[in-house]
């Protein structure tokens, strides 16, 4: 807002010089700057509902605050240090952080790398390639929380379809209470997440592969290079920027994991916090634990966790934008 006022001052001087400040002159002056008014709705909404709340999140993270009354109990970094040294929140924080890292590593393999594999396959002229692309992408259009509830039923130990399929092919030994077993709950959730998101890396990789100049590949083929060799020495190196970008996007999505865990394991990230991630911990600290197990952390604690998550995501995002820019300049 302030920027506007600074901008306008010289403009009115200029308008005044051109014509006397008659009503006509004023109208012209205004008309010349209507374009700034056109910027206003977007900028005002964005400042009010994104930038201001973010600035406030950082501010609140330095206070002990219940959400009511003035923000006057400044505690410095205590909300941050609580996450590391105050029981029980420190154990929950390190547990949730570890689980979030696991989600990232597992989903990079299950969604990004498997997606790359399918994209490589679909880039050869296989019959029905378009149909497969459309089918694989379909789950991306659905609500993640609804997908979570669907798989919650499908993974049910007694009546769920997954165990029924395993029993049907005589693999009874592999059946298990997927979401109730602390060792399998988190991988199950990541598998569902891969099911929900796989279509995206497939399409992005595919677009990148189809963008590779075909004479490069043809020349190698004429030289007698095998398909595997072509992929390893020509295709993959050229896909490197795409791969980095998708891994980073997956990293950001992993840090934000919330809906699937909420739908499949509840806000406590059961069983026994085995699937508790930063997203669910943040939700409980902000909205789920007023006066309960988190007494004393209040909204300031939640804000500190949010700021920390922001500090995890931000450098990575900045890196990918700079990296993308560098790569696109190289071509």
């Amino acid at each position: 807002m302030r920027a506007f006022r600074v901008l306008r001052r010289p403009s009115f001087v200029a308008a005044g010089e051109a014509s006397l400040p008659t009503s006509r002159g004023w109208a012209d002056g205004l008309k010349r700057y209507t374009y700034l008014l056109m910027l206003l709705p977007a900028l005002a909404m964005y400042l009010a509902f994104i930038i201001w709340p973010f600035a406030n999140t950082i501010r609140v993270s330095f206070y002990n605050w219940s959400g009511l009354g003035p923000l006057d109990d400044f505690v410095g970094l205590r909300n941050y240090t609580n996450l590391f040294d105050r029981a029980p929140i420190n154990r929950q924080f390190s547990n949730a952080l570890g689980n979030t890292v696991q989600v990232f590593l597992l989903s990079t393999v299950l969604s990004t790398f498997v997606g790359l594999m399918f994209a490589l396959i679909l880039s050869r002229k296989v019959p029905g390639s378009r149909l497969y692309q459309a089918l694989y992408f379909m789950p991306n259009t659905l609500s993640v929380v609804v997908i979570g509830f669907l798989w919650n039923l499908l993974l049910n130990p007694q009546y769920g379809a997954v165990n029924a399929v395993l029993r049907g092919v005589n693999l009874d030994s592999l059946t298990r209470p997927w979401l109730g077993d602390p060792d399998f709950a988190l991988p199950s959730i990541v598998a569902v997440s891969a099911w929900a998101n796989m279509g995206f890396p497939v399409l992005i990789f595919l677009a990148a592969i189809l963008g590779i100049p075909s004479d490069l590949v043809e020349a190698a083929r004429l030289d007698g290079a095998s398909e595997v060799r072509i992929i390893a020495t020509i295709v993959i190196p050229l896909l490197w920027p795409t791969l980095i970008t998708l891994i980073v996007l997956n990293f950001i999505a992993s840090v934000n994991t919330f809906e699937l865990v909420f739908a499949m394991e509840g806000s406590e990230g059961g069983p026994f916090f085995a699937t508790d991630v930063l997203g669910t911990l943040f939700y409980r600290m902000a909205f789920g634990g007023v006066g309960g197990a988190y007494a004393g952390t209040g909204l300031g604690g939640a804000a500190a966790l949010a700021t920390l998550m922001l500090l995890i995501v931000l450098p990575v995002s900045v890196f990918v934008i700079i990296y993308q820019r560098k790569v696109s300049h190289e071509y």
């Binding site: 056109m38 900028l43 964005y46 406030n56 609140v60 609500s143 798989w151 992005i204 939640a302």
Partner: protein
């Protein structure tokens, strides 16, 4: 591919060697296999929504119900007030998307075409929104909505969605506007058109395909969002579809037939629309990454 002649070098034998044949068989198997992994759960969902709970428990995998029980749908629809949820979701989506496109494209036009001090800074400020997950600001947003008396209204959702939609819209639309030749505008300006007229009557019609893509992207995002309704909405009659499904699951934990019917009610409309326009969906949802 480049010339016809090198096609002659390749003997048919090289193509049909056993190894290749086995390879392409394996590839087809992988592709069909994963297609089944994607589709089968959804088919089970629909089939189960037409069974009794007893039949689901006895035979969870069959895709053909013994008798088709549409009563599940009627009951789920009425028990959960899905009519209201759909109305709320449609209202929030339409208002949010229309205003995202209007505010966003208007601002993008200004940023793409007018040079003034601060232009670049404002553009970068919008781009910064790409990198920060909006939900991390939920605590101050919640307090803000409470103080504005907007908590537990659909407007709390709409305001946040519009603001959160700006970075992507402005990023894409600035790119599109920059690629439009200036001649058309110059002619209009000489005729005395103001900036808004130029934007509305000349530029907007030219970027209609881009607007459709961006609009579809936001429509799905808003339609599928669960987090903000979870935090902002308390009243039963203000729930959106994902929030409605979620509370329904809390209440009918043991009635599987009803739960599958509720899932189908919320999932099938999206899939039908997707199957009708999958190309547009795919370009819409991947536009940001490719651009």
């Amino acid at each position: 591919m480049s010339t016809r002649s090198d096609g002659d070098n390749r003997s048919p034998l090289r193509h049909r060697s056993l190894g290749k044949l086995a390879g392409s068989g394996l590839i087809q198997l992988l592709l069909v296999g994963y297609a089944i992994v994607v589709v089968y759960p959804l088919l089970i969902m629909v089939a189960s929504s037409l069974k009794t709970t007893g039949e689901i428990f006895a035979n969870p995998l069959s895709l053909v119900p013994e008798s088709i029980r549409l009563a599940n749908y009627v009951e789920a629809w009425n028990q959960a007030n899905f009519g209201t949820y759909f109305r709320n979701s449609i209202f929030v989506c339409v208002v949010s998307v229309v205003l995202i496109l209007f505010f966003g494209s208007m601002a993008a036009y200004v940023l793409a075409r007018f040079s003034f001090p601060g232009n670049r800074a404002i553009y970068l400020l919008f781009l910064a929104g790409f990198m920060i997950p909006v939900r991390l600001a939920i605590v101050p947003l919640f307090i803000m909505m409470r103080d504005l008396q907007l908590l537990d209204t659909l407007w709390s959702l709409i305001l946040v969605y519009i603001a959160a939609g700006m970075p992507f819209t402005i990023f894409l639309m600035v790119n599109f506007f920059r690629h439009i030749p200036r001649d058309l505008e110059d002619a209009a300006v000489l005729d005395g058109a103001g900036p808004f007229q130029v934007y509305y009557q000349i530029m907007l019609p030219l970027v209609r395909p881009a607007l459709a893509t961006v609009g579809l992207f936001h429509f799905l995002n808003v339609w599928n969002d669960f987090f903000f309704p979870l935090i902002f909405i308390r009243s039963e009659n203000l729930r959106t579809v994902p929030l409605g499904v979620s509370t329904f699951f809390g209440e009918y934990t043991n009635d599987w037939a009803l739960m599958f019917a509720a899932l189908s009610i919320s999932i099938l409309p999206v899939i039908v629309v997707y199957l009708l326009a999958s190309r547009q969906f795919i370009t819409g949802l991947t536009a940001g990454a490719i651009k």
